[in-house]
Symmetry: C2
Subunit: 394 residues, 2 copies
């Protein structure tokens, strides 16, 4: 009977993540100031809109919102997404747009449609770690490309793509998770040129685009290479994670493959949540809500940067993101923030060690950390930084 | 660039299904009486409850219904599912219950957690064809087990399991899709005994359990072998497909594997839809709604059986299901219902050829068809049978 319950190779390879363990730990300890969770501000989740949106969706669409629907996505939502895509420099029609079960659903299904055992995926160093686990679960090997404050380096990408066939580059050019960094326009052009030269597919994860607190929106990296890019967006940050509603733009052959597989994966994304999101977009409610989010998150980011500068020694530095939900902390070279995490949580503060965001965790630098600020109450930010200083700054 | 868009082997293997093509075809032709779509009665989808349920869920849980939540499932829904499981003879705790993105989400994630390339899955002959595509997408080979009106035959299962290692048996013992047939208690005991003897895992798909129109509920097949069975249920038939909310009971090692993979697949099922379902269960609304469904579907099933008997020649026979959403039509041996489908649709009526529900479609009998009646308006059933007679019965 033991053999009966043996897991597949891909399930055995998928280890439980440090982030999840942290989540569990800090959830049971409300006294901890957690800079760990990459979640939106709970107090701003637009729960008071739900009644209005539900009523509006039902009035407009009737029982369609409860019946089996189109695997590609609820047509009114695909239509409502077009202006968002235009804002990103992406010129699309409803036929190009796919609605997925969150941003993660889109990435998972894409990987299932693209990756064969042993394929190579290129990522940024550091990168969004849950994506690494998805790539691994489809048997892919990962190589990472070093960068600087402006994102991955075009020459390093060029060398990486010259060395071996790479299935696609996975990148988050805007307010990256975990670093918060953004690729400037010139860097985007240089990266696109390298990708074009090697004929490499781009998978752009752009779930933080709307959360810009200063400067002008930059067109998506995908906008520089239509037809050879996959663009992934989400309503998890703009509205609410629990809606599990994201969107994607894919070249038709990939979209066809994804849709065939999605019929088996979850048939379709909930038409009800899709209809609610469509109502929030067409009624202008999402835009008004975004204004509130931007103001609050910008203030929290400033408070956190100031508090870190005030309480930690000058040898601890942060970057200065233009948006998003993350601040990147760099400690002096000798300080091991991976090892110190346990002491930090005992001392009442949590973060995610930077090493967890590396394809090769063993070889990763140990002196960085991701500080997520969106769901930390404003009045707790200073105390959180004090605790960090007590544990790390001694 | 062509190579850039090449699909993975599993995506290339996943062909578009006849059912989906039919769906598309008949959706654009409202004049067709479609016995093809295995969808619930659209006119009974409980859209008028949505406002109440949303308000109740928000009042009870607040913003939690919009924030990231537990990958295993929203705890109040896991709790609310326990009485349903008890009705099925399954003695569980909230720790055993997993909430999935529809029944298909549970099956997909389970397959990802269990199947390695080349593994063998045993299925009923005929079986639910979307499951066949999921097995194929994870590289499994499928063997099917013949049966009779009482479900798969224990001796044939015994021979099948003796011949080779089988990863699991996938079966739908109650109101099976596509045949509508149900395994009686003695057959269940015999099948469980064979599975136990071979130490084979059972995956029981039981999404029609509640739709019983006569006789007493039978305990789930899983109830005969706790710890060596996976039980899959769904709210798609009881409430609404578009909620994409299902549930599963799995032995802990499998559940752990599924949850690790689900973090990458879609992180969690929508907390909002989970909270709505929980409200419908705890407030008794789901039970009252089920009473309505049962009465209407029982009447439609009777109308369809009578109409087929009235209009088709006596050489065309149907079975006599005790519940579910399907009636199984058998034509004389020479009549090819697969080939005749196109003529049928031209003649204004659609069904799904039985051959599509076979693991080996080329070797399948061609004289059977699945007639789905739940979403056909009562007043159209007779006309649908007349059209069938005109095309098939000549």
């Amino acid at each position: 009977v033991a053999g009966t319950l043996t897991l597949s190779a891909r399930a055995r390879a998928s280890a439980s993540s440090v982030i999840d363990d942290l989540f569990r730990l800090t959830r049971s300890r409300p006294d901890v100031v957690s800079f760990a969770a990459g979640a939106p501000d709970t107090s701003l989740l637009p729960v008071e809109l739900l009644g209005d949106l539900t009523r509006a969706a039902v009035d407009r669409h009737g029982r369609v919102v409860l019946q089996y629907g189109d695997t590609q996505g609820f047509p009114p939502l695909r239509e409502a997404v077009l202006p968002l895509l235009a804002r990103r420099g992406l010129d699309c029609t409803v036929d190009d747009v796919h609605i997925s079960t969150g941003g993660s659903g889109a990435l998972n299904n894409l990987c299932m449609a693209l990756l064969d055992e042993g394929d190579v995926v290129a990522v940024e160093r550091p990168t969004y770690s849950p994506a690494l686990r998805v790539f691994a679960s489809y048997g892919a090997r990962v190589v990472d490309v070093p960068g600087d404050a402006d994102g991955l380096h075009p020459d390093a990408l060029d060398a990486c793509l010259a060395r071996r066939p790479v299935r696609f580059l996975y990148a988050m050019p805007t307010f990256q998770n975990p670093t918060g960094r953004t690729m400037p326009a010139e860097r985007r052009a240089a990266v696109a040129e390298v990708l074009d030269r090697h004929g490499t597919l781009l998978v752009e994860d752009d779930v933080y685009f709307d959360l810009r607190y200063r400067g002008e929106h930059l067109p998506a990296l995908s906008a520089l290479r239509p037809g050879r890019s996959v663009y992934l967006g989400s309503f998890s940050k703009l509205l609410a994670p629990a809606l599990r509603t994201g969107y994607a733009v894919l070249p038709r052959p990939l979209l066809d493959g994804v849709l065939r597989l999605k019929q088996g994966i979850d048939m379709q994304t909930s038409s009800l949540t899709q209809a609610l999101v469509a109502e929030s977009l067409t009624g202008g409610r999402a835009d008004r809500h975004l204004g509130v989010l931007r103001a609050v998150y910008q203030r929290k980011l400033g408070l956190l940067r100031d508090a870190v500068a005030r309480h930690l020694p000058p040898s601890f530095t942060t970057n200065d993101p233009d948006g998003g939900m993350f601040l990147w902390l760099t400690a002096p070279a000798g300080v091991d923030l991976t090892v110190l995490l346990e002491a930090a949580v005992r001392g009442g503060v949590a973060y995610v060690p930077g090493s967890t965001f590396h394809a090769d965790e063993a070889a990763a630098p140990r002196n960085t950390a991701r500080l997520a600020f969106a769901d930390v109450p404003e009045e707790r930010i200073d105390e959180g930084a004090r605790r960090l200083a007590r544990v790390l700054g001694g």
